[in-house]
């Protein structure tokens, strides 16, 4: 709750080229460098890393050189700078590492800072302490310029909960809501980041309701600090296993990952992205071995390549499908690319001797597909052993993300099941995940979804087979109890959600509801 302040970052307005564009660019870089140095002096942690990186970029001739080269060719300073930065952003955007892709946001932030300087748009005056800042979007370095020590919050018409600014806001406990649409002017604003809304000029009654929610939140936050040490998570006397979803070995550097009960989903697409040919067996083996070494005796579920759909992979997936989400993807595609699939299965068979490896196939629709993949894997392992290599057939499971599979789950001879809630929700609701206009239909805890989840869980309980759920909802502390009430006792989420989910489970009422 605080005074409402609108910040409009000048986006439009092309710069009028001057006589000495090189000097203008140098001056803008100098100004950006001075502002960032001042900012760096009063920030720490991950934010300081970002600013140091931006400062180093300004001093990187491999970055600035091409921009000055364009200026020498007669291009305006802002266009030349934008071109150079956009090239770097595109390179980072195509990088297989999540960390490098995320740094693209820092580059975009630096790009905009220098463009502002070139256009002479004055830096917005610092807002009063404790203000609720409204803007279309808030670049991370602008967020850091604001003094948050006496409270305040951020309400963005656009923005994304996954942005760097959102991560900085979470780390500092600054409430922030995104995608709230057009915000009219107001004098006071109340922001409730937990419930995800902003109230302009709230009434006394709204304020009272907010204060009681805030008090409850403060109690919960205090317990989050201690939660990692308290293990394991239990719900109604049963252990709840909390696992992590990872993109590759480097995702494990997140501090919370150390407290995970294992890896519930290791995606393997990162190995195949940003390159012309699929990686060979050795390169894959190294990546799998690194994760198994990290996990020690904890289980690691690796998903075979899930190419296609929204994750096209050069040299593997089909181009030009009209409806790629429903096309040749996941296991369907792997079965059509026997060479690519065989290299992955060989690497997995060899990795299996190094730890508690489980392997699962994505987008399984019929039992035939699973049986075919299983037979292929068994032959692959026999070949490896015949060649004198150490290998074993790991436990084989499947992703449950196609409604047909969920409905006939007992027909699949898999050893375990992992419910892919994101895809299952889009197929159950016939609502494209990539289409914001139908996102209101994509509810992973809709009655239809819960019906399917229960079906798989019940089958697992009856047969003693493991059932886990991965997907964004597994990391949603507000809905974890709904999942546990369906009988799920294994959830796999991004490392950053672990603490909040564990806390929600530990703080939940542990008795069964009286019916």
């Amino acid at each position: 709750m605080g005074p409402f302040v609108r910040i409009d970052f000048a986006k439009a307005g092309e710069r009028r080229p001057g006589l000495d564009e090189a000097a203008a660019l140098r001056a803008a870089l100098g100004l950006a460098s001075r502002d960032l140095s001042a900012l760096s002096a009063r920030t720490g942690g991950e934010a300081a890393d970002m600013i140091e990186f931006q400062l180093a970029l300004i001093d990187d001739e491999a970055v600035t050189g091409p921009a000055f080269g364009r200026v020498a060719d007669g291009v305006a300073a802002d266009a030349a700078w934008r071109w150079a930065m956009d090239g770097l952003i595109a390179d980072y955007g195509a990088h297989p590492s999540e960390n490098v892709r995320a740094r693209g946001l820092d580059v975009a932030d630096l790009r905009d800072r220098v463009l502002d300087a070139l256009r002479g748009s004055p830096s917005p005056a610092p807002p009063p302490a404790g203000a609720v800042i409204a803007a279309d979007d808030l670049p991370p370095s602008r967020f850091l310029e604001i003094d948050w020590s006496s409270g305040g919050g951020v309400a963005l018409s656009g923005g994304s909960a996954m942005s760097h600014t959102a991560m900085l806001a979470r780390a500092r406990g600054v409430p922030m809501v995104v995608q709230v649409g057009e915000l009219p002017y107001a004098t006071q604003a109340l922001i409730d980041a937990e419930q995800g809304f902003v109230e302009l000029d709230p009434s006394a009654e709204q304020l009272r309701a907010f204060e009681s929610r805030r008090a409850a939140h403060a109690v919960r936050s205090a317990s989050v600090e201690r939660v990692d040490q308290r293990s394991p998570a239990t719900f109604r006397g049963e252990t709840v296993r909390l696992l992590v979803n990872i993109e590759g070995p480097e995702s494990l550097s997140h501090p919370a990952a150390a407290f995970a009960d294992g890896v519930g989903l290791m995606r393997t697409e990162f190995l195949f992205q940003g390159r012309d040919e699929p990686p060979d067996e050795e390169a894959q083996l190294q990546a799998y071995a690194a994760v198994l070494r990290w996990a020690r005796e904890r289980p690691v579920s690796i998903r075979t390549l899930d190419a296609g759909g929204d994750k096209p992979i050069r040299g593997v997936s089909e181009a030009g499908e009209a409806n790629p989400f429903l096309g040749l993807r996941g296991l369907r595609l792997s079965l059509r690319r026997p060479q690519v699939f065989a290299a992955q299965l060989r690497a997995l068979g060899r990795a299996a001797v190094l730890g508690d490896l489980k392997v699962m196939f994505p987008m399984v629709t019929t039992p035939d597909e699973f049986v075919a993949a299983q037979a292929l894997f068994r032959r692959t392992v026999e070949d490896l052993q015949a060649a004198g290599l150490e290998a074993r057939l790991p436990e084989l499971g499947m992703m449950v993300e196609v409604p047909a599979a969920a409905l006939t789950i007992a027909d699949f001879p898999a050893a375990f099941f992992s419910i892919g809630a994101n895809d299952l929700a889009q197929f159950v609701a016939a609502a494209d995940r990539a289409n914001g206009a139908v996102s209101h239909l994509l509810d992973p805890t809709s009655p239809a979804m819960l019906e399917l989840i229960r079906r798989v869980v019940d089958h697992g309980r009856a047969t003693g087979k493991g059932v886990s759920l991965c997907g964004d909802v597994a990391g949603d502390a507000g809905r974890v109890l709904t999942l546990l009430n369906c009988g799920l006792r294994e959830l796999s989420m991004s490392p950053s959600s672990l603490t909040a989910v564990k806390s929600a489970i530990l703080e939940s009422p542990q008795e069964a509801p009286l019916v």
Binding site: D49, E52, A56, L57, A62, L88, N99, V100, R103, P249
Partner: protein, 114 residues
């Protein structure tokens, strides 16, 4: 990114350490990933820029040499932990440059300036 070595690295140490075009090379095993993380990338490129020599870096066996003074390129380098990276330097202070850089990596990127 350079597709070829920026200058031809020799497999051996330089024959004359006091010529104006010294060449030096060295390799070191990574404790943590170098590329993909901002802090080590900034430290490595900053240290490289203190030397006059041209300095290139790559993961052993990689096809591309990377300009060690470019933070943008070092950031995008694919160097997972447990891999070995190598430096080659050419210039008047090549030996000192390679020595300093391998020490930085071997010590897992301590804070240089405090």
């Amino acid at each position: 990114m350079e597709r070829k070595p920026p200058f031809s690295p020799k497999p051996q140490a330089p024959s004359s350490p006091h010529s104006s075009e010294d060449k030096a090379e060295g390799s070191v095993k990574l404790v943590h990933a170098v590329g993909m993380h901002a802090r080590p990338a900034v430290k490595l490129s900053k240290l490289a820029k203190r030397f006059r020599s041209r300095i290139a870096v790559r993961v052993v066996g990689a096809s591309e040499w990377i300009d060690a003074k470019s933070v943008a390129k070092v950031m995008a380098m694919r160097a997972p932990c447990d891999s070995t990276i190598e430096f080659v330097a050419a210039g008047t202070d090549a030996l000192a440059a390679v020595g300093a850089l391998t020490t930085l990596v071997a010590n897992d990127f301590p804070d240089i300036d405090g």
